[in-house]
Symmetry: C2
Subunit: 96 residues, 2 copies
Amino acid sequence: MLTVITYDVNTEDPAGQRRLRKVARHCVNYGQRVQNSVFECVADAAEMVRIKNKLVELIDPEKDSLRFYYLGNKYQTKIEHVGAKPTYEAEGFLAL
Amino acid sequence: MLTVITYDVNTEDPAGQRRLRKVARHCVNYGQRVQNSVFECVADAAEMVRIKNKLVELIDPEKDSLRFYYLGNKYQTKIEHVGAKPTYEAEGFLAL
């Protein structure tokens, strides 16, 4: 099944910047980056729970947020993209 | 039906910053901001086409991107949120 993961990490301080890098790195390991803070993961339910639990550990729940959209197995027709398709490097920086 | 709209707008120059404000403002008019660049819109198919067409006009397709996830009518069980729930002001700035 496909899960869309979006995140907001508060990067006002160095600790936040570290959290952002860790969250991005974890998502990159398990999903396809489609926008700066948007990943798509194809994983079964058990694996998705593990991915989610790790992300929950990485964020500061007072400052950051994660959002998961479960699109199921028939997701191809549920997604539409318009515009640029940048490629991203694993560490979370936009590779232009 | 619920549509999740995510966007990446390249804000390296003032024109990009203007595009970002316009995109955010348009999304705010039609949806609930749930993260910095993530909106959820409840709209029927015809209205969603209008919202999308307007957003497509606002972006620079060489530099920016939009992504639409169509979650249908039974979306309540397909969404999970973890962590902070900030409120956002209409102009696109985080209101802490």
